[in-house]
Amino acid sequence: MKIVVLVKEVPDMESKFKIIDGAKIDESQIAFKMNDFDAYAVEAALQLKEKFGGEVIIISAGPDRVTKEVRQAFAMGADWGIHVNDPQIDAGDNFVVSSALVKAIESLGGADLIMTGVQSEDYQASLTGVVIADMLGLAHCTNVVKIDVAADQKTLTINRELEGGLNEVLEMSAPAVLTIQSGINEPRYPTLPGIMKAKKKRLDVKKAADLGVAELGEAGSKTKFIKMFFPVSDHKAEIIEGDAKTAAKTLVDKLKNEAKVI
């Protein structure tokens, strides 16, 4: 099977987040890593390749440092990849990035399966897989927790996770787009031989122009970014100072007049 996995780089959520000019995160203080959900997608793809043969191709959009995450997927066993590296694309919204990814997939002549993580840990839009399926005119399924591919390599039986601990089972046929939920498998650790091989695997770098992407930057976006901020919590705790007697008095007063609960 020819399987494409879309991999995104995200900040390590243990990092200290600082916002610059209300517009973007201060990246100098941040460590980056592969989006956890995408690691599950890579593993799912590798398992299918082990069963049916074929190849696993990684596509990732982002700046230079993204190669680290692509090579991580190579070290796990993926075959080769495309790095969509163009600041004009990175400056766009989900629609722009998805359009570029679609062009990259088309440049491969399509694929039997396209997999993404169900969402990215940072933006949590859960959009990329769905938008891409729409643009490519393919069937899609989100929140995937189990994939069975029949011997014909076309018929897919998919379990989706629903709220309330439920699963539903759907049948669909390849080519299709699947967005993978965490817990579907245990992503393998890169092996040391895998890491050494990863360095030598083919990684094509593509700019917007190479791919023929027309929608770029803010102009190509369907949404307009306004600002980014840390929400201030409305719930504040107050420590009432003073000895027990005065503090109790203040408390009763506040409960009566401010909170109006007594």
């Binding site: 650790y189 040391l192 890491i195």
Partner: protein, 600 residues
């Protein structure tokens, strides 16, 4: 989030900024590597540490191995980790490609080892023991032995051990009595071994002992010791694994490091234990020393790593525990301050860092020399080998002894909770205590350093070491902020030279017992100075980095480094004065002490 047990930032600082691991890739042997591969290897090690090793850390202590009917049941994560280590290529990572390895530099591998040991020392030892044992077979064994054993060991399917100790032969290996009688294509082994780590367990299919024994009729003492491969189960003519008459007679219940069993082994109860000679007869101890030297550095690494885990647990607690107020705060209604704001708690934390980061730096220094041995030859290679030889007892003993003090101070930061098992400090304290004992006690290391290493090749290694330290002193003395400490280190070197000359004088007079009586103190003195050297080297890099307008978090990091560096010079280095004073006084107090006087 898992409890933090190491600082990746610090590992990378030492690897890349202090020891310039990237420079290795200029040599053809390491040329397939790059900063990217090193980072990916470290990142994978962190994942294994966080996801496999650390989660089993406490449970392996609470549910130690169980012995029943000759079998030892260990925690299920042993099997999982041995498998992950084998499949991941970790057991033979440093080997050349043609031997199935990845030619990973020892420096990078050491940083990974530090992560594994800090995450869960007990679990970390299984593949490390296997690697050492396999390496012995590869280096000295016949092709047939290699074919029969190495593959499964590298795959993590078979455990390797080093089986030296016997009831009457611990520090004194010359006294081993296990015998080997030549038979048809093998030797019949009879005897007993004790304290053999991972000597039997159900996390693997087979255990391969690298065992010291005497061939019948061999000369007495170390000259009659040979090395054998003695599998727990041998391969019969049909390629099946069958019982090789190695019985596990029991396991010991120990203070810490409880996740790994130490076993008592009986060989030849049915007169059917087969051993296979490795290399030449009667050269066993020399061969074994290859493994022991690696193992000794590894002990130092583990000791520093356990102390690192203890430090991060103590740090987290100190930031969160409100207790008392600043000495200047007189208002009792004001909230209590987190204990990290008290100078005495800061002293304890700085002490831990100065020990851990100083010790680990020395380990990496040795790893760097070892990597250079691989890619150089002639005089430069000899230089690196001599430095590794000389410094091995220090790299083992300083972290082993001082690691215990560091963990103890970590426990102290937690007060009463440090002593209770809701927090990991008490376990780290117990786990750390093994290190001055195994792989040669501190006493044995002291005698090795003073009695052999310092004088070997007419003091050549020692002279090379002084050159190394002086070159660091020189490069730091141009920086106003470091020059005072550079001068102090120079003075410390003079003290060491002085003390060494004094002791050599005693040796020349033939008073060997007196010469070696305080070898442990000499080792301590030498160790403190070696760590001061490492701190000066780190401080130099931190100072340079601070001049380059670093980000806020980097600036905090480098300033933290400089604080730990100054702490070491202010609080630890001065301890050499007392040691030197004692070492210069050769009154023979301990030599003269009579056994009878100890009574009552």
């Amino acid at each position: 989030m898992a409890q933090r047990f190491v600082s990746e930032r610090n590992l990378k600082f030492l690897l890349y900024e202090v020891f310039d691991a990237e420079c290795l890739v200029r040599y053809p042997y390491f040329s397939d590597h790059s900063r990217d591969t090193f980072d990916m290897v470290l990142g994978t090690a962190m994942k294994l540490g966080e996801e496999i090793l650390y989660p089993a850390f406490q449970e392996m202590d609470r549910k130690p191995p169980e012995y029943a009917d000759g079998a030892v049941r260990v925690h299920p994560s042993v099997k999982a980790y041995m498998r992950a280590s084998g499949e991941g290529g970790w057991i033979n990572a440093m080997h050349p490609y043609d031997a199935g390895g990845q030619q990973l530099p020892y420096m990078v591998f050491s940083a990974c080892g530090f992560i594994f040991c800090a995450a869960n020392y007990s679990l970390s030892v299984y593949p490390v023991l296997t690697a050492g044992a396999a390496h012995l077979i590869e280096t000295f064994g016949s092709e047939e032995l290699k074919r029969a054993f190495v593959k499964n060991m590298h795959a993590g399917k078979w455990q390797g051990t080093m089986a030296l100790t016997e009831p009457d032969a611990g520090s004194s290996l010359a006294d081993i009595t296990t015998t080997a009688e030549p038979a048809d294509g093998y030797y019949r082994i009879r005897g007993q071994k004790i304290f053999i780590s991972a000597g039997a367990h159900d996390g693997v299919e087979n255990v391969v002992h690298l065992m010291l024994a005497r061939i019948k009729g061999a000369p007495a003492g170390v000259k009659g010791i040979s090395l054998f491969v003695v599998p727990q189960r041998r391969i019969n003519d049909d390629g099946m694994l069958v019982f090789n008459d190695v019985t596990c007679a029991g396991i010991y219940h120990k203070l810490g490091y409880r996740g790994a069993p130490i076993t008592q082994l009986a060989m030849g109860d049915n007169d059917d234990c087969r051993g296979f000679l490795v290399g030449e007869a009667n050269r066993g101890l020399a061969y074994m020393f290859q493994m022991m030297n690696e193992a000794r550095i590894d002990v130092g690494l583990s000791a520093a790593a356990i102390a690192s885990a203890a430090y991060y647990a103590a740090l987290e607690y100190a930031k969160e525990r409100p207790q008392g107020r600043k000495a200047t705060e007189k208002d009792p209604t004001k909230p209590q301050a987190p204990i990290i704001e008290h100078a005495d708690v800061k002293r304890m934390l700085l002490f831990q860092r100065s020990v851990i980061e100083g010790a680990f730096s020395l380990i990496l220094q040795l790893a760097r020399y070892t990597d250079m041995c691989r890619v150089t030859d002639g005089a430069e290679r000899e230089r690196c080998e001599l430095l590794v030889d000389l410094l091995t007892p220090i790299a083992k003993s300083y972290p082993a002894e001082m690691g215990i003090h560091a963990v103890s101070q970590g426990m102290q930061c937690l007060g009463g909770y440090g002593y209770c098992d809701e927090f990991p400090l008490e376990q780290y304290y117990r786990d750390a205590r093994i290190h001055p004992i195994h792989e040669g006690t501190t006493g044995i290391q002291g005698m090795d350093l003073l009695g052999r290493k310092v004088v070997m090749k007419n003091g050549k290694a020692m002279a090379l070491y002084f050159d190394e330290v002086r070159s660091t002193i020189q490069s730091a003395s141009g920086d106003d902020a470091l020059s005072a400490c550079a001068d102090e280190l120079e003075a410390a070197l003079k003290t060491l030279e002085d003390v060494t000359a004094h002791l050599a004088g005693i040796a020349m007079k033939g008073e060997i017992e007196l010469f070696l009586a305080d070898a442990t103190l000499y080792l301590e003195l030498f160790g403190i100075i070696a760590i001061a050297w490492q701190w000066l080297a780190q401080a130099r890099v931190a100072r340079k980095a601070l001049q380059g307008n670093p980000s806020e978090s980097d600036s905090n990091f480098y300033n933290g480094k400089l604080a730990a560096f100054r702490f070491f010079f202010a609080y630890e280095l001065p301890r050499i004065a007392g040691l030197a004073r004692r070492l210069r006084n050769s009154d023979g107090l301990t030599v003269a002490m009579k056994t009878e006087y100890f009574e009552d």
